[in-house]
Symmetry: C2
Subunit: 233 residues, 2 copies
DNA sequence: GATTGTGAAAGCGTTCACAGCC
DNA sequence: GGCTGTGAACGCTTTCACAATC
């Protein structure tokens, strides 16, 4: 049963790739594929086979030599490792363009992250329906977090409001934050923050674009393929 | 003038941080700050001072010992390095929730990435206005790319349509892609792809959340602070 | 014969620590 | 005295290559 939970610490780079493997495994499972080799999985994921094997070896020894990995079993193991055996309700702060899009994007709930609530400071937005859910007042955040046991908050406010949103989320009891606002957040020790910054992504692309045109000289060398980084194929 | 363009290759990790430094520098500049030390910049960026100095040293030696960095000058240099001396028009494929949000999000244009066009396969969406711009037919992609000299494409389609979108973008002449669809794209050599996958981000947070609750034992050890990774403060 | 699991090697990225310069 | 620029040390990540196993 709830065995095998000994503190195997998994490298961060591996944790970032597991969700990608998981998605591929689920797709293959739906196609009726029963076994998959590290090389096949690697091809689908756009990485190399050694990396897949190393990554999976951190979870345990779930493959069979000469055969590969049993898809269903591996799905179960990756899910368990990622903590996806139950849903994680999220609360979204900010009902602007992006907040609405995130709330309306069905993929969230489908993948185990149902939207437990959307809040906004703007009284004009409060009450309006987004994906069937009313936008609620920012002040209701603590109640939402408490009653729906939310531990993940999503910040979709303008930059100036983001730190306040983070403070309120933390005070309300949230321990993980996904930040879409272009600001560096300061949070207490023990709170996990990940950021998604669209402008930053474009600026990184700009760098490589520029390099392409500027580099009339020798190597037009390829940009390495990183886990969460860019990839020039 | 157009001097200093010798192929100094900047590490990928540094490239990913430069946009953050740039944003902070611009903010400080607007507040009237003239000089900034590596330590101050590091504090704002949530990294350490040695990293800031190393990163900036790849651009050249633009600091002054005993004083720090002149904000305006450094802004100029970082902009130049990132290729932000001119605008980079982008084309968005997919006018669903996310595509609309991206097009409507003013920050794009402000930061030098004006939306040159939005296209969608769905005839029902074609013609509708998003942020003052009509959604155009997917078939117009090549014309848009050609006439507005777009080199960056943004994919905001469902997963199943993403590879086709990528193929069309590449055929149309786009050389960098920002992919929001949850799929690994296959592109020809020389095309740069970056991905933003919301579900993946949440699943990574799930991992650390789970760890928090499961680890009743010894260390509740902090998660390291990575450039584009998670950070547990 | 095929494919995993994994030590060992190689490659990157971060941090230290201090000489050099203002 | 303060702060940058950077070689050297360290640690994390990727890749190699092969013994172990089916």
């Amino acid at each position: 049963m709830a065995t095998t939970s000994r503190s195997r610490r998994i490298p961060e780079a591996t944790v970032a790739r597991l969700p990608v493997y998981l998605r591929i495994l689920i797709e293959q499972s739906e196609l009726g594929v029963v076994n998959l080799s590290s090389e096949e999985l690697a091809d689908f994921a756009g990485v190399n086979a050694a990396k897949v094997r190393k990554d999976l070896s951190y979870l345990g020894t779930y493959g069979t030599r000469g055969v590969g990995y049993e898809v269903e079993y591996l799905i179960y193991q990756v899910r368990r490792e990622l903590g996806l055996t139950h849903d994680w309700p999220v609360v979204i702060v900010g009902a602007g363009n992006l907040g609405q899009a995130l709330a309306g994007y069905g993929g969230f709930g489908q993948r185990g992250f149902p939207v437990a609530g959307i809040v906004d400071v703007d009284p004009a937005k409060v009450g309006s329906l987004i994906a069937g859910q009313p936008v609620r007042r920012l002040e209701e955040l603590p109640a939402i977090v408490r009653t729906t046991k939310v531990s993940i908050g999503v910040i979709a406010t303008p930059a100036v409001a983001a730190q306040d949103a983070a403070d309120r989320l933390v005070t309300a009891g949230v321990t993980s934050i996904l930040n879409f606002a272009p600001t560096v957040l300061t949070v207490p020790h023990g709170i996990t923050v990940r950021k998604v910054d669209l402008a930053v992504e474009l600026q990184i692309l700009s760098y490589y674009e520029q390099r392409r045109s500027n580099g009339p000289g020798p190597s037009l060398a390829a940009v390495s393929t990183g886990s969460h980084r860019g990839a020039t194929a």
